[in-house]
């Protein structure tokens, strides 16, 4: 552009443009070419032809578009194709994860599997089930929830309804810090205090304490968010009627936000249910049914999956059991998640989105 006045401009609003089906054709073409190349070169992995096709798609789109439509349009098309490629790149492994788990998990997952333990079944033998692990997981998660929910909700109430000053600021700060604790570190902490220092043995309760630490900050955070959504007018209306503050909180604030709080609690339960590392350290496992979480090693679903995987080395009945355990775990977590979202949708405060 040599002159400072005006860009040269096409007199027409109509530029040469590629037909609507072009991206689809380009995609189909590059996939075919990618498959062709990989067949010709004798490549084995699907990852390879997929990557070839993706690269061909992006470069081909740019080449054709810049020739026909001009540079700006070509850039726009490349951005579009990159975004699509990113999406597909991500969807493939995530979809494969779900697909593989379901496909391999349903093999041995049945009523027998859910209702029997591994007590008399050797690692390499078929049969057995996850009853002991389910029981352990429910107890451990249940104990963690029983501690974390009241403490977490009360802390959130303190922060929102009373909290001003240094203490509240400190609590807010450390809740943030706590959110970032890696689960293995939470496990180490309980290990160092409960097992190393106090000399207690491994037990479901020790694991539950580590889970509590992981669950607390998420309960506080989500409850806080929900309490903040309760309009101040409601509190004022109640206070103006002469209702004491604690009854206002119990009778007005909490009921208004209970849906959101329940959602947050369920999501954090779902989060800790899959935690493995701390349980591996603190609870270990037993193939028998141990219904007492305060005494001795106890089974749990995540540890069960891990140990079945480890002992099977990728083949045999242990391998099937590991996948079936994983499917059960995912199903449990997804049901919790869906239920939580369901509640959130039904009971969302009107001020929410």
């Amino acid at each position: 552009m040599s002159h400072a006045t005006l860009p040269d401009r096409r007199s027409s609003l109509r530029g040469a443009s590629l037909p609507k089906w072009f991206p689809w054709a380009a995609a189909a073409g590059s996939i075919a070419l990618g498959l062709g190349i990989s067949a010709a070169a004798g490549l084995q992995s699907d990852i390879q032809w997929g990557l070839i096709a993706a690269v061909l798609f992006v470069i081909g789109t740019y080449a054709v578009a810049s020739k026909v439509e001009g540079r700006r349009q070509a850039k726009d098309r490349v951005a579009t194709s990159l975004v699509w490629v990113a999406f597909i790149l991500a969807v493939v492994p995530l979809a494969s994860l779900v697909y593989e788990t379901v496909k391999r998990g349903v093999k041995v997952l049945d009523g027998y599997f859910l209702s029997h333990s591994m007590g008399v079944v050797g690692d390499a033998e078929p049969g057995g089930g996850i009853y002991h692990a389910l029981l352990g997981t429910l107890q451990q998660v249940g104990i963690a929830t029983a501690i974390a929910v009241p403490v977490g909700v009360l802390t959130a109430i303190y922060l929102v309804e009373y909290g001003r000053g240094k203490l509240a600021r400190a609590v807010t700060f450390f809740v943030d810090v706590m959110t970032g604790i890696p689960s293995i570190v939470a496990g180490l902490f309980i290990l160092s205090i409960w097992i190393v220092t106090f000399g207690m043995g491994q037990s479901g309760f020790a694991g539950a304490m580590a889970l509590t630490i992981l669950m607390l900050p998420t309960v506080v955070r989500s409850t806080e968010e929900m309490l903040k959504l309760v309009p101040n007018e409601l509190r004022e209306a109640s206070l103006a009627l002469g209702v004491p503050k604690w009854r206002t909180i119990l009778k007005v604030v909490l009921p208004t936000s209970i849906g959101g709080i329940a959602t947050g609690v369920m999501l954090s339960i779902a989060r800790i249910t899959g935690e493995t590392a701390p349980l591996l350290m603190l609870v270990w496992t037993t193939p028998w049914i141990n219904a007492n979480p305060f005494d001795g090693p106890q089974g749990s679903l995540p540890v069960y999956i891990y140990l079945q995987y480890q002992s099977s080395a990728g083949v045999g009945p242990g391998y099937d059991r590991a996948w079936a355990g994983a499917l059960t775990l995912i199903a449990f977590i997804m049901i919790l998640n869906l239920a939580a979202r369901g509640i959130a949708r039904w009971k969302a405060p009107k001020t929410g989105r």
């Binding site: 552009m1 400072a4 860009p7 027409s12 109509r14 700006r72």
Partner: protein
């Protein structure tokens, strides 16, 4: 530079809802045309059909013809992007890019199209800011963020940004409704100057403003809420405000409704 707009038989939809129905009008080049009418009558929607911004709204859809001189904006193969280069727009709330400086805001549209030398860019930015009567106020802080200006200055910055790419038509969607009276006056003066070079279409809620700045005025109305908006009449501004040919226009202008 300025081009004539010729609309015929235009319908605009949001999803299945018909927002404006069967609008036909001619907008003269180098003049100011004002759209007035009660809230919800579709005047802003109609304005947005003139540079194909309506279809940016989810579900937005247009039928009919909008001729810019001899080209149909909705013709087959027309690229909405090129349409918007020809038909610039200024919005209700000033919307300078918050992460860009004053200078970069004005240059934003130019940088999209090809490369300019720094000196060329400087020239165009200065000329556009002068054209928007903003140069004297911002020449010392071209590199400060555009969001640091006052509301009226921001709106003039947006006008500078729009005219920097030298469009044929300038659409203004209630450009003063978020501004104080003094800033409003500055913008109205500016509109008077800009019409020498551009075809200007302005939507306004304020009838005095329409009377002050426009050459022609179009009155839109709707039969009831949920009904599509329609063009009632378009005429010389003087006639609309003194002796309109339709009773509804007179009722609206004399403040009997709306």
């Amino acid at each position: 530079m300025a081009k004539r707009i010729d609309v015929s038989g235009l319908n605009a939809y949001y999803g299945s809802f018909l927002a404006i129905e069967d609008i036909s009008m001619t907008i003269e080049p180098r003049s100011v045309t004002a759209f007035i009418g009660p809230s919800g009558c579709g005047k802003s929607t109609f304005l947005r059909t003139l540079n194909r911004m309506h279809e940016v709204t989810p579900g937005g859809r247009v039928e009919g013809k909008v001729m810019l001189d001899d080209e149909n904006l909705y013709g087959a193969g027309v690229d909405p992007v090129s349409v918007r280069r020809e038909v610039g727009m200024v919005f209700q709330r000033p919307n300078p890019f918050p992460t860009m400086s004053v200078y970069d805001n004005v240059a934003a549209g130019l940088k999209l199209n090809g490369s300019y030398k720094k000196s060329e860019l400087d020239d165009i930015v200065e000329r556009s800011l002068k054209g928007a009567n903003l140069w004297n106020e911002v020449k010392d802080r071209l590199n400060k963020p555009g969001s640091g200006l006052s509301g009226g200055q921001q709106q003039r910055l947006c006008i500078a940004r729009a005219i920097a790419v030298e469009p044929n038509v300038l659409l203004m969607d209630e450009p003063c409704s978020a501004l104080d009276p003094i800033s409003t006056l500055a913008i109205e003066d500016l509109i008077g100057e800009l019409k020498e070079r551009f075809t200007i279409v302005i939507v306004t809620h304020n009838m005095q403003q329409a009377a002050r700045v426009s050459d022609r005025t179009a009155f839109f109305n709707l039969a009831a809420v949920g009904q599509p908006g329609k063009l009632i009449e378009i005429d010389e501004t003087e006639r609309i405000f003194s002796n309109p040919s339709v009773q509804a226009t007179e009722d609206y202008i004399s403040g009997r409704f709306g």
